[in-house]
Amino acid sequence: MSLRNFKIYRGDDERGELVSYQCEVTEGMVVLDVIHRIQADQANDLACRWNCKAGKCGSCSIEINGKPRLGCMTRMNEFEEDKTIVITPLKSFPVIKDIVTDVSWNYKQNEEITPFSPSEKSKKKDFVMMQKDVERVQEFRKCIECYLCQNMCHVIRDNEGKKDFSGPRFMARLASLEMHPMDEADRIEDVKEKHGSGMCNITRCCTEVCPEEIQITDDAIIPLKERVVDRFYDPVMMLFRKIFDKKERQKTKSKVSSFLKMFF
């Protein structure tokens, strides 16, 4: 057992301060335990959000020494004993009180996404999905919506990109829907225009911070960017689609026939 020093942000979205606390830390404690102990013994009005204490609900997202992390999954024994630990709220979102932030902007991004749209064929009784077809999609289902990636993304965090970019969490959700074997909706234009895939410049911080170790950049953002390239920037693929894709062929046919009707 040792007495350790902490500084915790106390205040709201406008003003606040780092208040110093001391707390007895015992073996096996995590940062969330420390916050609870301080809340119980020294600062009853300290606001903190938490739920499962097992890294599965994503509620206790905070910044510890400037790095976004889950309070319940950050063990105290990884810090040097003589160093003060600074606990602050997520920087990218408005502070409600102390270390609790308002993450409702994320829910609005989610609403903007075209929902799961199963095809008629996939609704039939005999439709079977093989494991290899759903593996990629299953990876994204691990997301606990802690929004650490949204907070860490420098587009949202430092470059005021909230109006142009939905963020890595929703790129992963878009990828999970786009890659779903049953889904037939086309979201590629939305990925580029509405959700702003071009805003991401692949600095990979979202992947580094993910507590579920989802390969957000490699498995979600880059594949989506490549699908955008297919659609908008690759003339070879455009031609390929025009020739081999049934829907595209029909579109071109109707365009040509309406063009010809203008003259004949």
Binding site: D158, G161, H180, N201, D234
Partner: protein, 295 residues
């Protein structure tokens, strides 16, 4: 105190600057060396004085598009694809064919999804590391310091990601097509390195020039664009019988390499530079190649 004054990047206590600094040094060193090596236009070939089939060719100068036979350490004119150095290219620095070649691997690496992370962090400092505030307007910082005008420190920067000027990053797929061709060219060079004047054998240079296309292949075939074209663009592998095994298996192989893309990006970069250094030193006669030909 205002919230913005408290929640700054100064809260990170670890040595976050080490990684971007190493990347900066590594990439700068390569750029400086490769520019110097490309400028030389000589000592990129060694065959121990013989003019027959075989020899060591620096990867910076492969394929041998044009050859200026008047220079030392260059292959015989017969090895040239398009003949002797043309008049219309006399403006190229050092009359070096490397300028015509390096543009292809350079564009592939420059637009590579791994290198984007590396140089956005190390060079444009946006962000220099995760949860560290971007250092905006780097060029204006220099003038800010020299003018003593601190207000200019963060001025004139609007973040557009890869939608504005950086839209050209989307040429990565085309750069990849050329990079794949280069793997075959460099593999042929490795094959060539097993011969001297038509005689089969091997030397230290053979080993170096053989490892080179292997590492470059691991890097190139682990590319995200290839991963997309090899099955990443499909939503269902089992829906089409003939695609079932082939597409999914090839996608998995590319994925295996893709997970190590950063590792192979650095290994292949270092090795391609090392290959040039080795061939250059042997060609200049500074070091002797240990080989089975006894030369």
């Amino acid at each position: 105190m205002l919230k913005v004054d408290i929640l700054t990047d100064r809260l990170r206590q670890d040595k976050w600057w080490i990684s971007p600094m190493l990347v900066l040094l590594g990439l700068l060193s390569f750029v400086v060396y490769s520019t110097w090596a490309a400028w030389q236009g000589e000592y990129f070939w060694w065959s121990g004085g013989s003019e027959g089939f075989g020899g060591y060719l620096s990867p910076f100068y492969s394929p041998t598009v044009y050859i200026d036979a008047s220079k030392p350490g260059v292959p015989p004119l017969d090895f040239s694809l398009l003949g002797s150095w043309p008049e219309w290219l006399s403006w190229l620095p050092g009359q070096s064919p490397a300028w015509l070649i390096l543009i292809f691997p350079l564009s592939f690496r420059f637009t590579c999804y791994y290198y984007r992370k590396a140089y956005y962090r190390a060079f444009s400092l946006n962000p220099p590391a995760c949860a560290v505030q971007p250092i905006k307007g780097v060029p204006s910082q220099v003038s800010a310091v020299t003018n003593g005008n601190i207000n200019a420190f963060n001025s004139g920067e609007r973040y557009d990601g890869e939608r504005g000027l950086l839209l050209f990053q989307n040429i990565h797929r085309f750069a990849m097509y050329f990079a794949v061709i280069f793997i075959f060219i460099l593999s042929y060079d490795a094959f060539l390195a097993f011969f001297n004047n038509g005689n089969f054998g091997f030397g230290v240079g053979t080993l170096i020039l053989t490892i080179n296309p292997i590492l470059l292949g691991c890097y190139t075939f682990g590319c995200h664009s290839i991963r997309h074209l090899m099955g990443g663009n499909l939503d269902c592998y089992s829906c089409s019988l003939y695609k079932d095994k082939v597409t999914h298996s090839s996608w998995k192989i590319v994925t295996f390499l893709n997970r190590r893309h950063q590792l192979f990006a650095w290994l292949s970069l270092v090795w391609v530079g090392f290959s040039d250094v080795y061939v250059r030193l042997v060609s200049m006669g500074i070091i002797n190649d240990i080989n089975t030909w006894g030369i």
